[in-house]
């Protein structure tokens, strides 16, 4: 129960609170950051910086643990292979991010702020994910 439900629910809630507090649930803030050559808003850089700073410390602690605090095993992705799929997919993601100022986390968190708009974005995003799955199996 703790490992399977409570910890992920707590993590998701803290994550959503952080997104909202940092202004990331407002697409105008995100697009303001991406508007580098216009009226630039650096707020997102502070959000990213704060999050990365904490996680740098967490990554120093992780190798010292034999297993996660609440049990189970570490299941962590590889870090080295640079593929055209990684780069092409990330390039596409950036284009979609720029168009509406939404990435997956803020899109979902915004369900309580602007339900209809957030739901439209989420359904379209799931459709895009499904397309990849249909074309090439489990991605």
């Amino acid at each position: 129960m703790m490992r399977r439900v409570l910890i992920p629910a707590l993590s998701g809630s803290i994550f959503g609170a952080g997104l909202a507090l940092g202004g990331m649930t407002d697409p105008a803030r995100v697009r303001g950051f991406l508007d580098l050559f216009g009226d630039w808003d650096p707020t997102l850089a502070f959000v990213m910086g704060g999050a990365v700073l904490v996680m740098v410390i967490a990554w120093q602690i992780q190798p010292k643990l034999i297993q996660p605090v609440f049990g189970g095993d570490f299941a962590l992705p590889g870090t080295q292979d640079l593929t055209s799929r990684l780069i092409g997919g990330s390039a596409l993601f950036g284009i979609g991010w720029g168009i509406a100022g939404l990435c997956p986390g803020p899109g979902i968190a915004a369900l309580v702020i602007e339900p209809v708009s957030a739901a439209i974005f989420i359904v379209a995003m799931l459709a895009g994910m499904l397309l990849v799955r249909l074309f090439e199996g489990n991605a």
Binding site: S13, G49, V54, V56, G94, A100, I120
Partner: protein, 153 residues
């Protein structure tokens, strides 16, 4: 939160609220990593919850995380008495959503998985992915501005 200080060159920025929000996001990701040994990559977790991906978290855990996101935002919204929200029109949301969905699956991650969790691990893959989506994000907004496409109200 009222901003205790203002960046002179960028009066509209909210650096302290941004930093505080970022630290919360980092703590959430650290809880996933150290608590249950997983990456807090939201595109992957969402795909898992929706049954589009077979890998990663147990499905019930993916749902727990995904449901937490709006609940956490709700707490902040209630505490602050509302949050600004300027969203694009449905057509732009659909186009953007589709591209984000395809891109994050092909690229194996988004701002959370690559940007927060991967970069802090100094993962070569995540650093390249993050630079790539930042650059195309900057280019997309610049191109839309040049074309006079107003997206947000």
């Amino acid at each position: 939160m009222t901003e205790p200080f203002v960046l002179t060159s960028f009066p509209d920025a909210a650096p302290m609220a941004g930093l505080a929000g970022g630290v919360l996001i980092g703590l959430a990701a650290a809880l996933m990593l150290l608590g249950i040994g997983r990456i807090a990559g939201i595109s992957g977790i969402t795909a898992r919850a929706a049954g589009i991906s077979d890998s990663g978290l147990p499905r019930v855990s993916a749902w727990a995380f995904v449901i937490g996101l709006p609940l956490g935002a709700l707490v902040v919204m209630l505490a602050k008495g509302g949050l600004p929200a300027n969203f694009a029109s449905p057509l732009y949301l659909v186009v953007a959503g589709l591209i984000v969905g395809v891109g994050t699956r092909l690229g194996s991650g988004c701002t959370s998985g690559h940007g927060v969790c991967g970069m802090s691990r100094f993962s070569q893959r995540s650093i390249v992915a993050t630079i790539t989506f930042m650059v195309t994000g900057f280019a997309t907004v610049a191109a839309m501005n040049a074309l006079g496409l107003e997206v947000l109200p």
